[in-house]
């Protein structure tokens, strides 16, 4: 585990040295969300109804936006070779990279979304539900996005390609994440959705690190 921690700490420290990169992603999230009331109109009823979907979609796009550099930076400066040659499983390295991505994007997005939710007229329960679904759902986005980032390493036009690969795979998380807030508004329980989001995260946790490691290995060839 010491290698895992070392990599996680290194990546967090690198982000800490350039906080602007995270700031840009969060700013994108806020601006993208704010565009919806401007485009659709400020009626509270409409905004309330679309709030969860808008916030979830914007969070998904913001997470993808920051993923392109996840492995590309290591690939370009040669540190990816050091990870490939580290005497511990590459799957753990993949997990460490996705964890650091979640800490610097998924977590702040989950905290920021309820604040924006207020502007959409969501009530307290819905705001809490929004926070909870994003907290449980964004790790899946980091893992699936991490896989897409690893698969497109060194490809032409990798940014758009990354989104094309990751978005269909993120659909279940989006459906249950945004759906949870709506069922709550309809007076139904939240727990089923949260449990399914958790299950989706576990499936991603059980499959993507291996796929990412395989993708990184073949990128190193």
């Amino acid at each position: 585990m010491s290698g895992f921690t070392a990599l996680l700490v290194r990546d967090l420290r690198l982000v800490w040295r350039r906080p602007g990169d995270v700031g840009v992603v969060l700013a994108f999230f806020v601006v993208a969300v704010v565009l919806f009331p401007l485009g659709i109109g400020p009626e509270t009823n409409t905004l309330q109804r679309i709030a969860a979907g808008v916030l979830w979609c914007a969070a998904l796009f913001a997470a993808l936006l920051s993923l392109e550099r996840l492995f590309a930076a290591d690939y370009e400066d040669g540190t990816l070779d050091l990870l490939l040659l580290a005497p511990w499983p590459l799957e753990l390295a993949a997990l460490a990279k996705c964890t650091s991505h979640w800490i610097v994007t998924g977590l702040p997005l989950s905290l920021l979304a309820p604040v924006l939710g207020v502007a959409f007229g969501l009530d307290g329960g819905s705001l809490l539900a929004l926070f909870a679904t994003l907290l449980i759902g964004t790790p899946t986005l980091s893992l699936i996005g991490g896989l897409a980032a690893a698969l497109t390493l060194g490809a032409r036009k990798s940014g758009a390609l990354l989104a094309l690969l990751a978005l269909p795979l993120c659909v279940p998380t989006l459906i249950f994440g945004a759906g949870a807030v709506e069922t709550l508004a309809a007076g139904e329980g939240l727990w089923t959705h949260l449990a399914i989001l958790g299950a989706l995260a576990l499936v991603a946790l059980a499959t993507t690190p291996w796929a990412i490691a395989a993708a990184l290995r073949q990128a190193g060839e």
Binding site: G3, D77, T79, L85, P87, G220
Partner: protein, 210 residues
């Protein structure tokens, strides 16, 4: 000159690699004993880097084996990676971290302790640069940092891709001294190089198109 089989630590047998349907090398065999240095020479594109990557296990060869102390390294890749120090044509440094941070992170990523940086820093005259962010260093200074990482690893086999790149004369001498010390202690090294390494007793393998 060839060492007797009992001393051979690294044995390559019938290694073959292809890229894009093109044969890079085929049926390549050699052994390397403790304290030996093998210089890989050959023109651009002759497969020096690919051979180094195949020995390290980064590239899966199409045929052949890499054996260490008689055991196939493909059977236990993690133990094998623990025995290697790798210097690629890229330095493998993070521009936003300082020299000392880069070295200690690299050590921790190898699962090692990051306490005795000093010796490696001194060997490459990096002490005054230890706190400098790598982004601000010259190409030669970065290469020296990357070489210090190799020294620090304490791995028995060094795989070096153009180690002399960007090094000035004093740095080249420092590198030679370090390499000779490594060999004298029973270490092994394979270096892909254009320039003469200037280490006595080095064997040479010229890769070319047959």
């Amino acid at each position: 000159m060839a060492p007797s089989p009992s001393e051979i630590a690294l044995q390559i047998d019938g290694l073959a690699c292809r890229r894009g349907g093109r044969r890079v090398f085929d049926r390549l065999s050699f052994g390397l004993g403790e304290g030996e240095l093998l210089a890989l020479t050959g023109r651009n594109g002759s497969g020096k880097t690919t051979l180094l990557r195949a020995v390290a296990g980064l590239v899966r060869p199409d045929a052949g084996t890499v054996r260490w102390q008689g055991a196939d390294t493909a059977d236990d890749p993690e133990a094998w990676r623990d025995r290697l120090a790798w210097l690629g044509h890229l330095d493998g440094l993070k521009g936003d971290l300082s020299v000392a941070e880069n070295l200690s992170v690299a050590q921790r990523l190898r699962g090692g302790a990051a306490d005795r940086l000093d010796g490696a820093l001194v060997a490459f005259d990096l002490r005054s640069l230890a706190a400098r962010v790598v982004r601000t260093l010259s190409a030669g200074q970065r290469r020296r940092t990357a070489l210090a990482r190799i020294v620090l690893s304490a791995a028995p086999l060094w795989l070096l891709d153009e180690p002399l790149n960007a090094l000035d004369v004093p740095a080249q001498q420092a590198f030679r001294a370090v390499l000779q010390k490594h060999l004298a202690a029973g270490g092994l090294a394979i270096a892909a190089t254009h320039a003469e390494l200037g280490v006595e007793g080095a064997r040479t393998l010229e890769l070319g198109r047959a």
